[in-house]
Amino acid sequence: MSVFNRLRNYPHILEVAYQFTEWIMQGMHPFFKWIGYERASKLLRLPEKIGKGAVFNCQMCGQCTLHFTGMTCPMGCPKNLRNGPCGGVRVGGFCEVDASMKCVWVEAFERSQKMKVYGDGIFEIRPPLNHRLVNSSAFINLLSLRSDGMPEVWQTQTGLVHDRK
């Protein structure tokens, strides 16, 4: 595990960093709008890939849910599950497909419990990936409200929260 990867064990710090980045992006929104979202996406793609790649092994799905999944990228799951673990988790919480790796969702759940801002996001129902957004900037997709392509009737909220003792 690299130094950067180790950062993932401090999700409460990462979520603040995420919040900060989001705040900056919001501030730059008029600029992105001015140069055009397409161009902005091209501009941000590389820094996003390098930054999130180093810390989260980002796969550039273009629809970042990191903050909702314990600052653990669900794209690291070999089955690309976005709503929780499969039933194949091995003894000790290891991955069914790659036994040398901890289940992404075991880690995601543990870490989400330490997160005060976005921690409960792990209980929301994520829609299937929009594969047309792969390799584009997730931040720009968020700002430009590029849709996941799901109909309005898709329910996200479950009302569940962490039991914080």
């Binding site: 690309n80 599950l81 709503n83 039933g87 194949g88 069914e96 329910q155």
Partner: protein, 309 residues
């Protein structure tokens, strides 16, 4: 709980408060319809519904929907298992419509074992959707009469939707909450992985009841007889997600009559599972041991003859 939408024997039995029995059928590696019927023969007499697996363990067999249709035509109530491993959202929605048109309304939505577990490890894994998304997709098709694209269906499908539950593997704390997510997405019943650890199941179900999930969905617990300690070892190492505690393996190892001991363990588990709050049925998985499975159901008095409607 919600109203009976399908009017099917399985849904009706659960809603009437019966303790149900479902049994697993593995579709054969054959293009002969008779072989499908044969696979269902033994346990079909006991079960309120037969689950037809969809490439279980990522092994190739005759398709689940086809086998379901054959069994349904022969008079069996079936549960169509659909895994996300092999199809994208276009194929899945099409197949869901097809299933409903064929009268197959019970659908168990699964993520699916990974391709590396089966006989075609070279295959591409699809997983375009996960099981929760598949549940929500089927619910939207049923309730809103549209595809995920928003395009309207000229006739809505009917479904009684189920999800999988595995209380026996990590992350234990997340498992009941994940079920709540699945219920929100559309699940109305759950069928679990093999239960060999009743204590684990008890604490899981306790949490399920605390969350009030037992009032929103039916819980059917998976189990089955062991043939020998080798079977236990096979389940433990080759089938993803099955946990067999050392104490159970030890009992099998020490036993003189392995088959009898395997049945005895299973009977004991059923008796304990029946007493747990929230449990509304059992799911018998007895691949290549259908006779033993049938004997067990006789022994615990869960033969369908008494339960005939």
């Amino acid at each position: 709980m919600t109203e009976n939408r399908t009017g099917g024997r399985f849904e009706s039995a659960l809603r009437a408060g019966k303790f149900v029995v479902t049994a697993e059928v593995t579709p054969p590696d054959s293009a002969d319809a008779q072989d499908v019927l044969k696979a269902a023969q033994t346990l079909g007499r006991y079960a309120d519904a037969l689950n037809v697996t969809d490439g279980s363990g990522a092994n190739c067999h005759i398709s689940s929907v086809a086998a379901c249709a054959l069994l349904s035509n022969a008079g069996y109530e079936v549960i169509f298992q659909m895994s996300c491993r092999d199809r994208n959202r276009i194929a899945m929605q099409g197949e869901l419509l097809g299933a409903s048109a064929l009268g197959l309304h019970n659908v168990l939505c699964l993520t699916g074992d990974d391709v590396t577990a089966g006989d075609h490890p070279q295959a591409k894994r699809v997983f375009d959707m996960d099981s929760t998304q598949l549940l929500q997709t089927a619910r939207i098709m049923r309730d809103d009469g549209i595809f995920l694209s928003g395009r309207k269906l000229s006739a809505k499908p009917k479904f009684f939707l189920g999800g999988a539950d595995n209380p026996f593997v990590e992350p234990f704390e997340f498992r009941p909450l994940r079920l709540a997510k699945k219920i929100q997405a559309g699940a109305e019943f759950f069928q679990s992985q093999y239960c060999f650890d009743v204590e684990r199941l008890k604490s899981h179900m306790q949490k399920v009841c605390e969350l009030g999930l037992h009032e929103k969905a039916f819980f059917i617990i998976g189990l089955g007889p062991l043939r020998s300690e080798k079977t236990a070892e096979f389940l433990r190492t080759k089938v993803p997600g099955v946990r067999v505690p050392e104490s159970v393996v030890e009992r099998m190892r020490k036993a003189q009559d392995k088959r009898a001991e395997g049945k005895k363990i299973c009977v004991e588990i059923i008796q304990q599972v029946r007493e747990i709050q929230g449990v509304t049925g059992i799911h018998m998985m007895a691949y290549k041991q259908e006779e033993a499975g049938a004997e067990i159901l006789e022994e615990v008095g869960l033969n369908n003859k008494e339960m005939m409607r």
